[in-house]
Symmetry: C3
Subunit: 295 residues, 3 copies
């Protein structure tokens, strides 16, 4: 989007009237959770000067939906950026949890092509990393840069579950087996200590109230990623060093274990965890994603 | 301690009159070292809102005694928490340096049981990690959560020395062998660059003045930890990334090398080193320990 | 330099009149790039109290010359330190790019001996780490402490290229082979994402305008470092955790992969990247180098 290209579609209004069927645009709601519970002082240092306008497409991860991005999207828009937060199959309002990784990928591809988005910064968080890997294979010409934020970068032929420590993978298998619909619901103690470890107890409880069971199948599907590894698209990795979903090192983790598979990539680091900062410091998260995405 | 349980013993007064024989209560002394040398501005950012009251038992490491915690304990108490800092056999005022790991463990267990403490957040620093592992085996029902702060998490059958790089272990063996009483005194250059690497020269010298020879035997004892690894007690790990006691990675170090042995644990990270911040930024250390210990 | 030693040469004036032939003294130029583009607010937190005077010799790395240190040297001088920034063979104003690692080492050794510098804190950045390893072998008695800042610490018999991931080493070989004079010019996308990953696009472009082709041969020469590994000189390692020149871990990187080869060393960590902070936060870089160098 910089330099300005007149052919590109723009969505400068949060309440843009027509949305593609089945997906949520997630405009930032002023009266929402964030308005009541954000910590403006802690986030103050991230007020930024005017930024060249970019178009971001933010792809959430597991145990989340498009509202995951509400605060971050608002912060990016307040700097003049265009932000899309597609919600994919099996998540949010979608009642059908029997989805495949390919269906999820199709959700994001369809969203981008129907809106004819171009020159996008495609951002994937967590499981969303494996989604943007597959999306990039299908519509590489629309993508200016890929940004992985504490996100899976799978090897060709791997599944998300292949990157989990044995103990975690087995726990997920048991949780899925004990569910009625092949979904995994995170027990609170696990969510609290792994996903929102820096949050207050109250914030953790509030966050957990929005967590719904995650379709298990896409986590265990092995993905053909040969085309991804042939793409010349520029790539960035955002790593938050209090992220506790995995141990970081000893053969596991986001950075450098998975990030280094990207080959040449830009690294941006901050001190957040896996989920908390999207609500408590959305402007910080937005700034880091911007630093990863800019020219 | 939250929600409030009326049966629990409380010590809201720093000058509580009766202490169990042989151990020091270490009330924070206003006229002490800290009052003169703390850096209040640097620590300012860690002023916190009111916190639900917790009971902390802080277990120091090697080359330290209960006064190690003076500033941190004061900071936690100023937030309304109850803080105990037991000093264990072979340390502080104890003239007998011929102690075993079991004697050290017994010191802490006796302290907790005599005061009938319950629902405690049991915190171990450095060597203190191996102590709280053994304490937890003996009185698991009194412990609400275990917090390891740059602390040893030993595998079953391991000694502390087994986790040291070969060069360090050999140096410790030589220092112990050359002593008259099987103790290890840290040479200043080693203490300065490994334990207080971020301190000023003056702070490092002042810190070193309080260091006394450490009983060697407990560092080389192999510990049976089968019971520890069967405990369901919640656990946290606090990692300070300028800690330089070990290289962090390549098969050594606090996090993730030893922390990941805890299985499911909460991670909290800060930028301190092994000793310095207890004196220069005690409120920061207190806040991180609180974040690790809270519900 | 502390305590004061009357025999030591001092250069308290930035415009000291006689310089050894062939090397640049690089006094900080007020009208230079830094004056226009530094970010004083972000750097404010690093204003320091008076510091005991030290003598620093700062040795730059590849794709840089002595001006790399302009802002950092000025910040150190403003605290009362003496700072030298020798420029070595094949770099800066030297038109001859056909140099060897030994010629580069000789440049720095000659600079130090001609000025009869003693008790120096010898700092190497990046490739400069391999240079100070060799310099230390030749003039150990003049060196008070060695400081490696995101710098190579080569094993005996290794070359800089031996520490590069295969992909990077092959890219460098191809770039050198396609040049007319066995030099390597970094393509902008690689420089932008690996060397100045945290910079704005504008800062990155401005930085890149000063980058010139680097002589390839010294990067591929295997060095005899037996004497280095017998030196008792105190050592420090400064690690900036957004440095993206290498993946950090999985067998590569600055810390702990190369730093731990130093044996006993002091660690200082900050959040910068490989190049950017010398221009955007020179006082921060100066403070970290001071913390690494002080007694």
């Amino acid at each position: 989007m910089f330099p300005y290209r007149p052919g590109t579609h723009q969505f400068p209004y949060a309440n843009y009237p027509f949305m593609p069927g089945g997906y949520d645009y997630s405009p930032y709601s002023q009266g929402g959770w964030l308005g009541r519970h954000s910590a403006p002082e802690a986030d103050e240092g991230y007020r930024m000067p005017a930024q060249p306008r970019l178009t971001f497409v933010l792809v959430h991860g597991s145990w989340a939906d498009a509202h995951f991005w509400d605060g971050v999207a608002a912060a990016l828009r307040s700097k003049g950026h265009i932000v899309h937060t597609p919600e994919y199959a099996g998540h949010g309002k979608d009642p059908n949890k029997q989805v495949t990784h390919a269906m999820i990928t199709k959700s994001v591809v369809d969203y981008i092509t129907k809106l004819n988005l171009r020159d996008i910064i495609l951002v994937g968080h967590s499981f969303g990393g494996s989604v943007i890997q597959k999306v990039a294979e299908q519509i590489p010409d629309r993508i200016k840069r890929l940004v992985f934020w504490d996100a899976f970068v799978l090897k060709d032929g791997e599944s998300v579950a292949d990157e989990l420590p044995t103990q975690t993978r087995q726990a997920f298998e048991q949780l899925a087996a004990s569910s009625k619909d092949d979904t995994i619901m995170l027990p609170f103690p696990l969510f609290r200590d792994l996903f929102v470890n820096t949050a207050t107890s109250e914030e953790a409880r509030r966050f957990y109230a929005g967590v719904t069971p995650e379709p298990a199948k896409p986590l265990f599907e092995k993905l053909d990623l040969k085309a991804f590894y042939a793409l010349p698209t520029p790539k960035s990795y955002v790593y938050f060093y209090q992220d506790n979903v995995f141990p970081q090192g000893e053969g596991y983790g986001w950075n450098p274990h998975m990030s280094s598979r990207l080959g040449l990539f830009r690294l941006i680091v901050s001190d957040g965890d896996h989920f908390t900062d999207t609500r408590t410091r959305p402007a910080m998260v937005a700034q880091k994603i911007y630093e990863a995405g800019r020219d």
